[in-house]
Symmetry: C2
Subunit: 360 residues, 2 copies
């Protein structure tokens, strides 16, 4: 199985994709110096399933285990304070390596803590959900939510390695698997027409957890993510394309209340709304939008947003981090496999898209 | 007056030292692009004195003003949450420049907020206390305190510029002026024997707020700080020397309760304790320690710590960020103007130093 490398000016790191990696101590231990302390952050769903082998691999590193409750509601500054309290209470010093064992929430929280604990300690990502494996564990975005908006407090802070074991997806609830597939579809839609067509042909295999199909989709997604991050770590340009579906999606997530909609579910509907807007602006052919709609549905994802007023939806989009000078920025499609960022969207077209999805 | 430059691989920034700078809009505006928003963070003591000219200089930048209560007790994650709430409520986007107008507390809080707000926005330091002008505003250390230790949550995040107006020291309470002088003395003691001798000759002028003496001391201190930061931004080596007096000092500050002892006051006593320990280990001649003691006293600083038990003092030192693998690290003097970092301090010597200062 492949080891990808994400190279950046300040140093690169490996992304190892390996079925069974969690059962191989030598893979887990790579990059942690002898006699250095480790602190494993996980949650009460993932811990009972996968903590034991990780804990065993680090038995000689005086491991501290911090188990959070499951869920997006944990992504707050208050949780950061709690983790710091545990780390300080256990005398974890600046050489301690934090290990994120879990999905995107655990990864974002752990990465953010690593970036601010004693002004920065190393951390390793061991993502156990599909969404984290194909997206959030790669690229160094960390953060927590604020009641006024998602991921509004965070850092760009790269892990020292990412270890992906696709075997962990066997225990993933179907709803979370579907949420991860939304981000996989995203890579095809915004930049890889060939991968999009492959996904249309193999969506049934992915939903059925076929090992070879999953491994291919994870690797292709990680390659796409790594290429974009290497070109633009701080999202000054091309990285913004990865927000396809996210301007609408973040409004859905926040508007529905954290934790009610999974991030990937919101992104799935967000992509359909962005495609609809692209069609209205004459950028995308209607059949292409229909193919995207069919693929999102085939992944088992919702295709309509929760009931929200247009006024609150627009307000939620305006506080999105991608807004600049009060203007909302959108990622729009020119075709399946081609996207652009623009703030130049006429309000009538946007209102029509919202209305088409029941938001008025 | 001089403009120093702090050069780093990711880009440098100017440190401008100029009496009357706060009254010159063209100096304040430098580095903020037209039409970009600014948010000024200050406190309820500094704001009434110096906000007006800064606000006027940025009148065309739709300035948001965030006024915190004065004091070290504000350095918490809860304050960060409050500032983020204000920024989001005012729709401040990722192009907003934060401006820290105040002392070290305002600078540390504002810098940390800038480093995490929407994963990073630019910020400018306008330090108005001597301590902030000679130390905390330069070098990019940001952070807040945790109940278990000072500055335990923070980042390395550089400002886009530092603007120092020594005229602001005219309104500084004598106790804070003395606290700033502790850090000035530190630069002489750890690396600049000539400056140390100059300080012995000019301490009375500094305490009397002589303009030329203050300007010289600020510039020499900023040059020393900038040189060390350029050599070692992330404190992997030589930057640790700047913690002279801080291992003992942080224990004093935390043990006395945040806000009861000023940081500089604690560092002043901390330097005397470190010098005493250096003498006990045969590194420093007793007359040199006596000269340091005399200079700290001449600055109007306390020379004995608050009443604390040895057990709690040692526990507080062990959670210091400079601790590694459970071992407390000290900056010790070989002479006035020469220092080293070591974790190799026998407990009997440390206990003797604590006892000498009334801690047993």
């Amino acid at each position: 199985m492949p080891i990808l490398t994400l190279d950046l000016p300040q140093g690169g790191y490996p992304i190892r994709i390996e079925a069974g990696a969690l059962k191989r101590p030598e893979i887990l231990q790579a990059g942690v110096a002898e006699r250095r302390r480790v602190a494993i952050v996980t949650n009460d769903v993932v811990g009972p399933l996968y903590l034991a082998p990780v804990l065993a691999a680090f038995a000689r590193h005086d491991p501290l285990v911090i188990t959070l409750p499951d869920g997006e509601a944990q992504k707050t500054l208050s949780t950061i304070d709690t983790i710091v309290d545990r780390l300080l209470g256990a005398h974890c010093d600046r050489q301690t390596t934090l290990i994120a064992l879990g999905g995107g929430v655990v990864g974002d929280i752990t990465g953010f803590t690593a970036s601010v604990y004693q002004r920065g300690v190393p951390f390793i990502q061991i993502p156990t959900t599909l969404l984290a494996q194909v997206d959030s564990s790669v690229g160094g975005k960390t953060g927590v939510n604020h009641v006024r908006g998602k991921n509004m407090i965070g850092t760009f802070y790269q892990p020292v390695s990412v270890i992906i074991d696709p075997d962990t997806l066997a225990t993933l609830p179907p709803r979370e698997r579907a949420a991860g597939l939304a981000e996989v579809i995203k890579y095809g839609a915004l930049g890889d027409a060939e991968f999009f067509a492959w996904l249309e042909a193999h969506m049934a295999s992915l939903v059925a957890l076929d090992g070879a199909s999953l491994a291919f989709a994870i690797e292709r997604s990680c390659r796409a993510k790594a290429a974009v991050v290497m070109a633009d770590e701080r999202e000054a340009g091309v990285r913004a394309l990865l927000n396809f579906g996210h301007t609408f999606g973040h409004a859905i997530e926040t508007g529905a209340g954290y934790g009610n909609w999974l991030h990937g579910e919101a992104v799935g509907v967000g992509m359909l709304m962005a495609a609809d807007l692209s069609v209205r602006l004459g950028l995308l052919a209607p059949p292409a939008a229909a193919r995207l709609q069919a693929l999102v549905a085939a992944a088992g994802l919702p295709t309509v947003p929760p009931p929200l007023s247009a006024a609150s939806f627009l307000e939620l989009m305006a506080v999105d981090k991608k807004a600049q000078g009060g203007r909302i920025r959108f990622v729009l499609l020119h075709g399946l496999g081609s996207a652009e960022v623009t703030a130049d969207v006429p309000m009538p077209a946007l209102s029509a898209t919202l209305a088409r999805f029941g938001i008025s």
